[in-house]
């Protein structure tokens, strides 16, 4: 051991409750870029993580506004086609809302948190490949801008009502942007996974890794299994779409393109962005009540099991008759089993609370509130997912699909806010408690209302319509959806405000030890 290398025991003593050590990043000690050059040249993964967090929250706010407009289209106030200027424009926004919340908001938010927190948790000074992490951020951002710009230029993932040549070109650009975003997220995931596997502190086995880092390792593996399948879909669609009349896969005048990619936002693949939620919940609660689990290996198993059940590339039903796949035993088993790890997490959290310090301040702290709300919403989403695969209930092709989606997205966002509060010093700086709690409450209430309304709509719909064009049957439920969307938008605005103010405070206060 070298003179400057701290022994494990010392390092553990310096670590906070869940094992987040506070090593000095090389970028902090060496000549790091300053000012405007910093976001383009930084060698510090924590900086890259901050960029991911702020940019994804900004994206989230924009997409939440689209969500409010889509919800407004479901009420009597305005017809969807009139609100957006045509059926195709409505379809473009409807698909953008769904794809964006997965690829442009929740996944990058959690990846950003991981880039900042994981190296500290495993005792590495920085991530394995900091330049690759920076490349991941910029290629993600450029891909995201391409997606949004091309969708507003008439692109998107297919259409409902005929297209022009220009719109077909814009669709090709959307596909390119989608592929770019996926590759960028995969690069980031590889960086995080390699950091956990190869750069752990001497003496720390894989079983000793804190829950959040473990959950990010599992997430990276799940993404590596799932997201490349979407790239394969995109390759075939793109090859078909470009330059001539499309044969089967890339027909721009139909929703075919969307139907080949919609598995990304449906269960089980949608759970892939919720795996880190379990890690954040365990870590945040452990830190809040200052306790460690008596069975840490059980936490690893629970998170790993949820990851296994979130692998979803196999579940696309465009190429087969939907009933062949989705009534199949594997799909049903995945849907039902996903509840188990979330319930086990609730049990694990209960054990942590029992073992820890149960003062009022600790139990009502922001990380605790966030962890509780995220776990409840994820639990609700997986429960709806389980109901959805029970054939007699006939919920499979109904809006219950979006109840699962909304539950997972809201859980991911709340977990993100909880993580910002838990590791504030590693991330942006001290976040204002009022804004963090406000964001958690608003996102929790909004997400809950969306889950509830979508589930009830699924039960009462006579003619299932996944695009919600015909959901005018129940004005009360449509009103609830609108309120839910407004609350989610307000929650994201509060989270963004909290993040920006924390960043400004952190910048003026300088770098403090966590």
């Amino acid at each position: 051991m070298t003179l400057t290398e701290s022994p494990v025991a010392e390092s553990e003593a310096a670590a906070d409750a869940d094992g987040a050590a506070a090593p000095v990043s090389p970028a902090e000690t060496l000549g790091a870029p300053r000012g405007l050059a910093q976001p383009f040249m930084t060698n510090d993964a924590a900086q890259v993580g901050r960029l991911f967090v702020v940019a994804s929250l900004l994206m989230g706010l924009g997409k939440a506004v689209i969500g409010v407009l889509l919800s407004l289209g479901r009420t009597d106030a305005a017809a969807p086609e009139d609100l957006f200027g045509g059926l195709n424009a409505y379809f473009r926004m409807w698909t953008l809302y769904r794809v964006s919340f997965v690829l442009l908001v929740v996944m990058p938010l959690l990846l950003g948190l991981a880039l900042a927190v994981v190296p500290a948790q495993v005792g590495a000074g920085n991530v394995a490949f900091p330049r690759a992490a920076l490349a991941s951020f910029w290629s993600w951002l450029i891909g995201a801008v391409i997606i949004v710009a091309s969708v507003f230029a008439g692109g998107g993932w297919g259409a409902l009502d005929g297209v022009t040549g220009n719109e077909s070109d814009a669709m090709a650009l959307t596909l390119l942007g989608t592929g770019m975003v996926i590759v960028a997220l995969l690069i980031g995931a590889i960086v995080v996974a390699t950091t956990v596997i190869s750069l752990r502190q001497t003496g720390m086995s894989l079983l000793d890794v804190p829950p959040f880092s473990w959950s990010m390792l599992v997430t990276a593996v799940v993404w590596l299994f799932s997201l490349p399948v979407a790239i394969a879909n995109i390759v075939v669609i793109y090859a078909d779409l470009r330059g001539r009349s499309a044969i089967a896969f890339g027909r721009p005048e139909s929703p075919d393109i969307w139907l080949q990619l919609d598995w990304l936002v449906e269960q089980p693949a949608v759970y892939a962005m919720a795996v880190p939620v379990l890690g954040i919940v365990f870590s945040a609660v452990g830190k809040a009540v200052d306790a460690r689990s008596s069975r840490p290996e059980a936490i690893l198993v629970v998170v790993g099991l949820f990851g296994l059940l979130a692998i979803g590339g196999w579940s696309q039903d465009y190429f087969t008759a939907p009933q062949d796949l989705r009534d199949g035993l594997v799909y049903v088993a995945f849907g039902l089993a996903a509840v188990v790890p979330v319930m086990a997490t609730a049990g694990g959290v209960g054990e942590l609370v029992m073992r820890g310090s149960k003062t009022r301040d600790r139990l009502l702290s922001t990380p605790m509130l966030g962890a509780g709300a995220a776990l409840k919403l994820l639990g609700a989403a997986t429960l709806v997912g389980a109901l959805r695969v029970i054939e007699p209930l006939d919920l499979l092709e109904t809006s219950a699909t979006w109840a699962v989606f909304h539950g997972v997205v809201a859980a991911g966002l709340i977990a993100g806010v909880a993580a910002l509060a838990t590791w504030s010093q590693l991330l942006l700086g001290p976040i204002q408690q009022r804004l963090a709690v406000g964001a958690i409450v608003l996102l929790g209430a909004g997400g809950g209302l969306l889950v509830l309304a979508d589930l009830i709509s699924g039960f009462i719909a006579d003619d299932p319509d996944l695009m919600a064009l015909a959901l005018d049957g129940n004005a009360a439920l449509n009103g609830v959806v609108l309120i839910g969307s407004l609350l989610v938008a307000a929650g994201l605005a509060a989270a963004l405000l909290g993040a920006v103010s924390a960043l400004r405070h952190g910048a003026t206060a300088g770098s403090e030890a966590p």
């Binding site: 070298t2 000095v24 090389p26 960086v191 190869s198 590596l224 390759v235 009349s245 590339g313």
Partner: protein, 194 residues
């Protein structure tokens, strides 16, 4: 300044580049596996409907078999390059790299011949489209593998030798082996069981 305030020394990190390459290779393989799965599924669907997939006699087995043998040989030469980088043996390293790249170029050349020979139109039907999607993706991956191998081997052999650079060659070789595995899938699925 106290010594405890200094940054920790760089710890010995086993095979960081190789671990990352393993993960990246796995992701690339998943892309290809998904493409091949789609190809097989669509072909089965066509067969179930009694449709012809490729017109008989258009896809020849000869060039495809030659490519398989070429890539099988490249497995040996790429490992030769890895061994040379480990042993800091510049002459053998450059020869191994050159031969491996030549094999790669030969496979691309052979594919060009296959494309000319089959004369498929990409919009001729699902079979033709998927034929180009699968083989085109393979060629793209092979070009990436050739570029990776060239850069890492030349860096390893021209610069001062180090453990990390030898690992980088090993990582590139890993990607190369995955490409060979992918071609094995193409060979069996597209050319043999056509």
């Amino acid at each position: 300044m106290r010594t405890t305030e200094l940054p920790a020394a760089e710890a010995i990190r086993p095979r960081t580049v190789v671990v990352a390459a393993l993960l990246a290779t796995g992701a690339a393989f998943m892309v290809f596996a998904a493409l091949v799965s789609l190809y097989v599924q669509q072909r089965q669907q066509a067969a179930a409907l009694g449709e012809e997939w490729f017109p008989s006699g258009t896809v020849e087995l000869g060039p495809a078999g030659m490519m398989m043998m070429t890539l099988a040989l490249s497995i040996v030469t790429v490992q030769w390059a890895v061994q040379a980088a480990r042993a800091e043996d510049r002459p053998h390293g450059f020869i191994a790299l050159g031969v491996t790249l030549m094999f790669g170029a030969a496979v691309i050349n052979q594919f060009w011949f296959v494309y000319q020979d089959t004369a498929f139109a990409i919009d001729g039907g699902r079979a033709e489209l998927l034929f180009y999607a699968v083989t085109g993706s393979f060629i793209a991956m092979l070009i990436v593998a050739m570029a990776m191998l060239t850069v890492t081997t030349i860096r390893s052999l021209l610069g001062p030798f180090g453990r990390d650079l030898a690992h980088a060659v090993q990582a590139s070789a890993l990607f190369w082996h995955m490409c060979v595995l992918c071609y094995f899938l193409v060979w069996y699925v597209v050319f043999i069981t056509k």
